[in-house]
């Protein structure tokens, strides 16, 4: 007895919603005569891709957390902490690969603690990760002695190089890493039991428990994975800046969450997709890039991105009512 035309529209919104947004943003800047030429150049797309890496990695993990009905506010602090750890280890003279792994593992450890607290103490994720946001940021500043850590140049710094070597890579290695992990996570969500369990926990935790799913384990793993991605994102941050800066990425967790939400993730859990999230990341990056080219001041960018988030969530709401 439902109206089919509306549910059809809902489905179309569901599938193409995020893409429509992305195409609109690209079309908008491509049509403005002043920036058209520079905006549409391949080099510009490359640099947008590279600028997206840090948020994208964080958003991959955040997508899992949000689908599972949680939230990770500590993501940005965790990124800063991992970048400081990486710089610290490189500076101490260890092999770059050791530094990279330690950076990633630090992120994973923070995520694991988040998950442990959420499940063992049965606290709301918002509170736990908000606390962790402060703890991780503080720890980063402490380890860095409240200043930037300089580190010698190594191959780690080439991960975010805009003109990669060898040149046949076309995109920075960091971009390829994002693509690789995005595919992996999309497969994980769609085609693995763990992925299915993540959706079940987010959709109805009581049902999941009744079905014998170890809901606590799923949640802990989800936060740990999110932490690992933050760690990797932190390594990329270090690679980009060539220093370990404990004050970097302040407020970035909101960009990460926004990307997931623009991409169709529901903050009440049970919904979201990697493809959507990646499109969400690109929408925000293209907006920033286009605004900068227009020479618009920072506050205009902030207003536009804020509006985009609200529009995206409104679309999400519409989808819920029609689908």
């Amino acid at each position: 007895m439902r109206r089919h035309s509306r549910s059809g529209m809902g489905r179309a919104l569901n599938l193409f919603g995020p893409f429509i947004g992305l195409l609109l943003v690209i079309a908008l800047f491509a049509l403005i005569p002043g920036v058209q030429g520079r905006f549409l150049r391949a080099a510009n797309f490359k640099s947008v891709a590279t600028q997206s890496v840090i948020v994208a990695l964080g958003a991959l993990g955040m997508t899992l957390v949000i689908i599972a009905g949680g939230i990770d506010l500590s993501a940005a602090s965790n990124i800063a902490l991992a970048s400081v750890i990486t710089a610290y280890v490189v500076n101490a003279g260890a092999a770059p690969i050791t530094a990279l792994l330690l950076g990633v593992l630090t992120g994973g450890l923070v995520g694991l603690v988040n998950g442990g607290l959420v499940t063992r103490l049965r606290l709301v994720p918002f509170i736990v990760t908000m606390g962790m946001m402060g703890i991780a940021r503080g720890a980063a500043k402490w380890i860095a002695g409240n200043q930037k850590i300089d580190a010698p140049m190594t191959w780690v710094n080439e991960l975010m190089a805009k003109s990669p070597r060898p040149s046949w890579l076309l995109l920075a290695p960091g971009v390829w890493i994002v693509i690789l992990f995005a595919v992996a996570m999309a497969v994980l969500l769609k085609y693995t039991v763990f992925g299915r369990h993540i959706f079940a926990v987010g959709s109805n935790e009581a049902t999941a428990r009744l079905c014998g799913i170890r809901t606590n384990r799923v949640k802990i793993l989800v936060y740990a994975v999110s932490g690992l991605f933050c760690g990797l994102s932190g390594v990329m941050e270090f690679s980009r800046l060539t220093v370990g800066d404990p004050t970097v990425a302040v407020g970035l967790e909101l960009d990460i969450i926004a990307a997931v939400v623009i991409g169709g993730g529901s903050l009440s859990g049970g919904e979201g997709s990697i493809l959507g999230t990646m499109v969400g990341v690109l929408i925000m990056s293209f907006l920033r890039n286009g605004c900068t080219m227009m020479g618009w001041p920072n506050y205009i960018q902030e207003i536009i991105i804020g509006a985009i988030i609200i529009i995206a969530v409104a679309l999400d709401h519409l989808r819920h009512r029609t689908a």
Binding site: K190, T192, T207, C211
Partner: protein, 514 residues
């Protein structure tokens, strides 16, 4: 009984039709409601009852037909109009805000205020008055609704409708989540409403209850009114006949099954939320009914057994192996399957597909090298959809879009899919239509004949008496009595459930079918 027929009708609906696309939801339906009359609206899910009530409330506009209230034309353009004309709805899903108090809920949207300042005294008085009216003055207006029992919540809903000076009250499945006691209270309230000339349209799947409370009935089938009349002197079989159309053979189909060796035994099992330890045993091919009032500890026992609640004493043995710990997955591995009483909150994930819901508890068969195959998953579930006669567009349809009866079948399909050998069914037929019920009884019989053991918790005595081999009764958390079904009758079960002891002798053969 008041002579309702003599008074002019308070509501007249004539020739109402409504289509959604190609589906005719209502086809030339006429309906009359007398002053102070309780009129039962009966029909399977999808027969058009809720569409008709939406037309009445003004939530949807009919394609054809007209309505009159007290002889004056009534054409509501929205639910607000319905309310203003004295039509109130009480929905199956309670619509109260759990964090707000009783008073705040009852006055919600109709707060008495002066320039925005709440007049708490007046509101408190009004709420007291209306609670008095529904004969529940003991409910405190200052308690958050979330802390009330389901029955008390229902009372609050009714009070809210009455405060609206409603003259027509629509109750949609009001007793589906009430205990027998609360239901009796509700009937008492309905009788009180009649005395005040309030008319009630009563929608329910519980036909016995309809027979008790209603003065007249109308049966809808496939959007048409197929029969109506006075309740007195009408046999239930005739009403069922009207509902289903074709020849309705038996509500409780008999499936031959033999009881085998014991497979489950509880020995002084005491869970953290159970009031007393429980000892019972269940055999292969046996259907053991568990009667008792809501809150008597039946659900808590199932949850402890299934590892959803912790156990503090005693043990549970399944096929000779002890199961322990708060680990539901270990129970599933040992062949236990639990059907939750709370379909919406716990039993099903409404936003997931039928296929996902059915296979959620056992995804292993669809996994190779760590990857799931959704295609194989859907194929497997398509078979079960056919076998259980689930009305769905396919395995990919969202469970939330299905009717109650079909949702319940999906929940049962999950137990079949996970190949449970001991099925713990908690109120499996609550709030679903009579045809689905009958189908569910039949599978339960079939499962028993396949040698599965079934623990069947229900508050609906006729079904326990209809399909169980043995019935055990809970009273205040403890198991008071267990006897073969042939030695029970409804009165004895009720006595055991309400006072904790059953009459020793079975009364004279009066346990006949309705």
């Amino acid at each position: 009984m008041i002579n309702a027929a003599a008074a002019p009708p308070v509501l007249r609906m004539a020739g109402i039709s409504k289509s959604f696309g190609a589906t005719k939801a209502l086809d030339d339906v006429s309906f009359e409601l007398g002053r102070g009359e309780v009129h039962a609206l009966i029909g399977e899910n999808g027969a058009g009852k809720s569409t008709m009530m939406k037309v009445l409330s003004g939530a949807i506009t009919p394609d054809a037909g007209r309505m009159e209230i007290d002889g004056r034309p009534y054409a509501p353009s929205g639910p607000g109009d319905g309310l203003r004309c004295g039509v109130s709805m009480i929905y199956q899903e309670l619509t109260l805000a759990p964090h707000l108090t009783v008073e705040e809920n009852i006055m919600l949207g109709r707060e008495v205020h002066a320039a925005g300042w709440l007049d708490r005294e007046t509101m408190k008085r009004k709420v007291r008055e209306v609670l008095e009216l529904v004969r529940h003055p003991e409910i405190s207006p200052t308690v958050p609704v979330g802390r009330l029992s389901v029955g008390a919540k229902q009372v609050v809903e009714i009070a809210r409708a009455l405060l609206n000076k409603s003259r027509i009250l629509v109750m949609d499945e009001p007793t589906s989540s009430l205990t027998q006691e609360d239901s009796a209270c509700l009937f008492e309230i309905i009788r009180g409403l009649k005395d005040q000339d309030v008319s009630v349209i009563y929608i329910s799947h519980f036909l016995e209850e309809v027979q008790r409370v209603a003065d007249s009935y109308t049966v809808l089938r496939d959007g048409r009114s197929v029969g109506s009349g006075a309740m007195e002197g009408t046999a239930l079989e005739d009403i069922i006949q009207l509902m289903v159309g074709q020849k309705f053979t038996q509500l409780f189909p008999k499936v031959e099954h033999a009881v085998g060796e014991p497979v489950l035994s509880l020995e002084h099992l005491k869970g953290t939320r159970m009031a007393a330890p429980v000892t019972l045993s269940l055999s292969k091919g046996e259907i053991l009914g568990v009667a008792g009032l809501i809150g008597s500890g039946r659900t808590e026992m199932l949850r402890t057994l299934f590892g959803l609640d912790g156990a503090e004493d005693g043990m549970a043995i399944v096929s000779g192996v002890e199961v322990a710990g708060r680990r539901p997955w270990t129970r599933i591995r040992r062949g236990l399957g639990l059907l939750s009483e709370d379909r919406h909150g716990e039993g099903l994930a409404a936003s997931l597909s039928v296929a996902d819901n059915v296979t959620l508890s056992d995804l292993a068969p669809y996994r190779s090298h760590g990857l799931l195959s959704p295609a194989r998953q859907r194929r497997a579930v398509a078979g079960l959809i056919g076998k259980l006669k689930i009305k769905a567009k396919g395995p990919g349809q969202k469970v939330g879009d299905l009717s109650g009866g079909n949702q319940q079948k999906v929940a049962l399909a999950r137990l079949l899919h996970q190949k449970a050998s001991v099925l713990l069914l908690d109120e499996p037929t609550r709030g679903i239509d009579v045809v689905s019920k009958s189908q569910i009884y039949e599978w339960i019989g079939n499962l028993a004949s396949e040698g599965k053991a079934i623990l069947f918790v229900s508050s609906y005595l006729p079904e326990l008496l209809g399909i169980c081999d043995r019935i055990t009764v809970f009273h205040r958390g403890a198991l008071v009595e267990s006897r073969p079904t042939s030695e029970w009758d409804a009165a004895g079960l009720m006595a055991a459930a309400t006072v904790g002891r059953a009459p020793r002798e079975k009364p004279i053969e009066q346990r006949n079918a309705e």
